[in-house]
């Protein structure tokens, strides 16, 4: 069974100037363990696709199944729990919580899930796996380099053992060398841990990491 499946999915934003069709009938299945790139020009519907995959939004019509659950008709709490329990988000701007130390940022999703016992140890273990040294654990995110912040963010996304990672331009704010290191980390997680990765990017060089590249134009798969 696919981790993510779209069946005739449309998304329409009603605007005063007329409806905007962001997704115009998408059929798509992403299998467990795949590394999938989503590419396309601005306004092609990439973000909308990503939002729906991430249970941040629901389709106007069609059926979306994520980790075996249909998200149409879910209320806000149910969608939030989908995100918490099944999806790991990785953002272009890292988006760590500035008030929390690095290790606390990674611990946060565990605490949200009510797993207090051993949460610190689990967070440290995942941080070690993404290559954050022990000396950086208690630093605030702002004290780390961009590459280290993105590694911490990947640790946060992984800590609840999600069904898939959803990455939105994860190297967009990094220099080429650091970006390559982050891509290598994601590729390793995909190969060695079997993590499903879906990544939105503009960068054509990323295709070498992917099993499959989905191209979008005007709300459709090209």
């Amino acid at each position: 069974m696919p981790v993510i499946s779209f069946d005739a999915v449309t998304k329409v934003y009603p605007l005063p100037a007329g409806d905007v069709v962001a997704l115009a009938g998408i059929d798509l299945a992403i299998e467990k363990g795949e590394f999938v790139l989503v590419m396309g020009p601005s306004g092609s519907g990439k973000s909308t696709l990503l939002n729906i995959m991430g249970s941040l939004d629901v389709p106007t019509s069609g059926e979306v199944t994520i980790a075996g659950k249909r998200i149409s008709g879910m209320d806000d709490d149910e969608l939030t729990l989908m995100r918490r329990d099944h999806i790991g988000f990785i953002f272009q701007q890292f988006n760590l919580i500035p008030l929390l130390s690095v290790v606390e940022n990674v611990e946060y999703p565990l605490i949200l899930k009510g797993r207090r016992n051993g949460s610190r140890e689990r967070a440290e273990e995942v941080l070690a796996a993404v290559g954050i040294t022990e000396t950086h654990l208690t630093h605030k995110p702002g004290e780390l380099s961009g590459g280290q912040q993105q590694r911490a963010a990947i640790a946060r996304a992984l800590v609840n053992d999600p069904d898939f990672l959803l990455c939105d331009e994860p190297t967009g704010n990094l220099d080429t060398k650091t970006g390559t290191a982050i891509m290598d980390l994601l590729a390793r997680m995909n190969r060695e841990e079997g993590k499903t990765v879906v990544m939105v990017t503009h960068d054509p060089r990323m295709t070498e990491y992917a099993d499959r590249t989905i191209r979008m134009v005007d709300g459709r798969l090209a």
């Binding site: 709490d77 729990l81 988000f89 919580i97 611990e107």
Partner: protein
């Protein structure tokens, strides 16, 4: 690390802003607590008066009466009989204002005269003895003694009134404002001396002390019915009734003062609302991140309510402590009795102020918290 922890960190991240919001709550709590204590102390003060003289009826000659403006010995006896001799103690007294001198120092003083045997029934002594009918001794009020300490008006001193000299044999205990006589600034002389000195055999008023407060109404009615059968000879003043209306006024004062306190706390609430709205606006992106990684609306809401509660609790605790000090100053300076602060009802006002402060803060945090929880995670994430 919990939501409370996150809230605490955010409060201390903007410590100046938080401190200002807390200051508002502190002022509000202090205002409400001290205003409450002040009103309550005024009430307690009246209450003490009621219990002091609640057993007292003052009988005066009726204004429109034909018997003149004084009461004869016979009328005093009639009043005693009318009241029921076994139910009451009647103390007739006369009073006048006269010049007096102590050594070189001259001045004026209030003089109360009553049968020497009755003085101990009405007044307590601080030092010395009570004067006797036969001698030329007098007593002085405590405040009068204090004010004239330097001029030598003290126990054993000689006081000249008119062309006669009296010796101070006793000093009275401070009694405070009363509805019968105010002896604190006065000289008390035996009626025998007064009668001879001023050539007067009548009295100005009669203090009727009821042995059992329950008999008060019966005694009052008895005097009015028997004395004023044909025409109004006397007017009867029941201090309890007067004080009860004063007491009701004290209650209104408390409510009014509490209202002033409450307004300042509401102003503080608005400043918390403002701070919290700022906090939400600044953290839209952060809220978007929290929501996208699985924080539920109610959890976001809880985090912000905790923030408001922290401000409220800190403000209430500081305010409560300061209220205690301010309450002491108010009771000591305005009602001149700091003991009123330690009355349970006064302390209750401090707790009430604190509770109201916390409640106001929490209530002010509700809307910003709700607003934060309602943010659309996609739009919040895009916010810069």
């Amino acid at each position: 690390m919990t939501f409370l922890d996150l809230a605490r960190r955010n409060v201390s991240r903007h410590w100046l802003r938080s401190a200002l919001a807390v200051t508002g709550i502190v002022i509000g709590v202090v205002a409400i607590a001290t205003m409450g204590i002040l009103g309550n102390s005024i009430g307690l003060m009246f209450n003490d008066m009621v219990s002091d003289v609640g057993d007292t009826i003052v009988v005066s000659p009726a204004m429109s009466g034909t018997g003149g403006d004084k009461l004869t010995k016979r009328q005093v006896d009639d009043i005693t009989r009318a009241a029921g001799a076994n139910r009451v103690i009647t103390i007739p007294f006369a009073s006048t204002f006269d010049k007096m001198s102590v050594g070189e120092k001259k001045g004026g003083t209030m003089i109360y005269a009553m049968p020497a045997g009755d003085i101990p029934l009405l007044l307590e002594k601080e030092a010395g003895t009570y004067p006797r009918d036969t001698g030329s001794g007098c007593m002085i009020g405590s405040r009068l003694a204090e004010l004239n300490k330097e001029t030598g008006l003290k126990l054993g001193a000689r006081v000249t009134i008119g062309d006669e000299t009296l010796r101070v044999v006793g000093v009275l205990k401070e009694r405070g404002m009363g509805f019968d006589i105010n002896p604190d600034y006065a000289i008390i002389v035996p009626y025998s001396w007064y009668s001879r000195h001023y050539d007067e055999d009548r009295y100005d008023q009669v203090v009727v002390k009821v042995r059992d407060v329950k008999d008060l109404d019966v005694v009052k009615e008895g005097i009015e019915q028997k004395m004023n059968r044909r025409e109004d000879v006397v007017s009867v003043m029941d201090t309890k009734a007067i004080l009860e209306s004063v007491f009701a006024a004290a209650d209104s004062i408390t409510v009014f003062l509490l209202g002033i306190g409450a307004i300042s706390l509401i102003v503080a609430g608005v400043s918390i609302l403002n701070v919290m709205l700022m906090s939400v606006t600044e953290r839209i992106k952060e809220i978007g991140v929290l929501r996208s990684i699985g924080t539920r609306r109610r959890e976001v809401m809880r985090m912000f309510i905790y923030e408001a509660l922290i401000l409220g609790v800190v403000g209430a605790v500081i305010g409560g402590a300061l209220s205690f000090g301010a309450g002491y100053v108010i009771t000591a300076v305005i009602v001149e009795n700091p003991d009123y602060l330690f009355n349970p009802t006064s302390l209750l006002y401090i707790l009430f102020g604190m509770a109201f402060g916390i409640f106001t803060s929490a209530a002010s945090g509700l809307y910003p918290a709700w607003k934060a929880a309602q943010l659309n995670p996609i739009q919040a994430l895009r916010h810069e």
